[in-house]
Symmetry: C2
Subunit: 235 residues, 2 copies
Amino acid sequence: MPDRNVGGKVTKVDNPAANASGRSPRPAAPPLTERQRERRRRILHATARLACRGGFEAVQMREVAESSQVALGTLYRYFPSKVHLLVATMHDQLEQLHGTLRKSPPAGETAADRVAQTLMRAFGALQREPRLAEAMARALTFADRSVSPEVDQVSRQTTAIILDAMGGLENPTPEQLSAVRVIEHTWLSTLITWLSGRASLAQVRVDIGTVCRLIDLTDAGVRVQTPRPGPVGSG
Amino acid sequence: MPDRNVGGKVTKVDNPAANASGRSPRPAAPPLTERQRERRRRILHATARLACRGGFEAVQMREVAESSQVALGTLYRYFPSKVHLLVATMHDQLEQLHGTLRKSPPAGETAADRVAQTLMRAFGALQREPRLAEAMARALTFADRSVSPEVDQVSRQTTAIILDAMGGLENPTPEQLSAVRVIEHTWLSTLITWLSGRASLAQVRVDIGTVCRLIDLTDAGVRVQTPRPGPVGSG
DNA sequence: CGTTAATCTAGAACAAGTTTCAGACTTGAT
DNA sequence: ATCAAGTCTGAAACTTGTTCTAGATTAACG
């Protein structure tokens, strides 16, 4: 009679992603049948739809369940909390965004320019559905330890996007990684600040530009780990 | 029969800080009697105590009310939501912290050094009560528009702390202000990331150091709006 | 003092996230 | 086809943030 958690089957009792202790790389990837993938898709779609309407608070679990034709218990089996659900939605959206961005790489001179351009483009994409963005961003920063794995996944996605914009270097130095982390933090924070009306778009643009200078800083003067001649400007 | 909101009395209907429209600098500062100040103090104290125990989720409104010997309705009159309550708590704590920091100014060579040192000191202070820090930080980033005035207040406090560390300059350039904002974002984000176990203390230190370089960057090589000969390096 | 508006209290009521349960349905292996 | 294990459903229950109400207290003012 096990129950709970679609993404990690254990014969006895299973705890979804609540690996509060630390390690344990999630038992195994459970195949997930066709119907199940379909359900999951419906849920994420309904979530995005509701979020577009009224943001974080409009995403109500009962509504999501009904709207995606799934029982409440099932919804909770797929996503153990509202925050998990919205972080998964963000992952989904970022996936699409990353795809879009890949198709038309930024055209700036310096790495900093390209990153800034990419981030502003991402910003523009989210801006198009501000309530959805609000819902996802708030979930992301409100997430507690029980959502760490999922949040980390989103973080890695963002990192990938930024590294891509920098020129797809494969062996970033620790300094560069630190700069990328700072840029990530700034990006998300400015997004939230803008969404809650505490900063203007102009301010966002300036701040993104400011933080991106960190790239030039680490690009040049620092001892690089591996100066391999990767394809920096092409794609 | 007016009711609701201790901090802004209007004869007819009063809305606390829910100035969603934008302006309106909060009708007037209502004197606030002795008993009331005492109640407010009790509430904030109880909040901090509960938060120290179990973080955000341990701060339960009924508990806070009971623990501070105040009716639930009264608690809500003083702080219109749990988030308001915790943001106010953060303001309170930052006040104390700022006082402490003022007493022993940072001793670095460059402005960047001093800011980094100050931020790490602040980090250390919050680290001492990680659950309290978690509760406050999560409330701060989860806050929606209805809490904007209070969040802004906290933001101004943080800005003041950083500017102090830079040497108390009174006419920061737009570039410098942008750098300060980015530093603020980074500080809060790394705090949260550390609190939720997704980053090590070492990483935090590195990232704070990284972002603080932006200060040197704006300190020197950039075309400044007003090149007035202010005391930039002395403090 | 006595009046009157504002504030405070106790407690019920409501809303939305989360959990639980019994029973129906699927799936996979024999 | 059948059995066991795992999944899904519908509905109720529980938790905690938030709102509401009626009556008791307090404070300012004459």
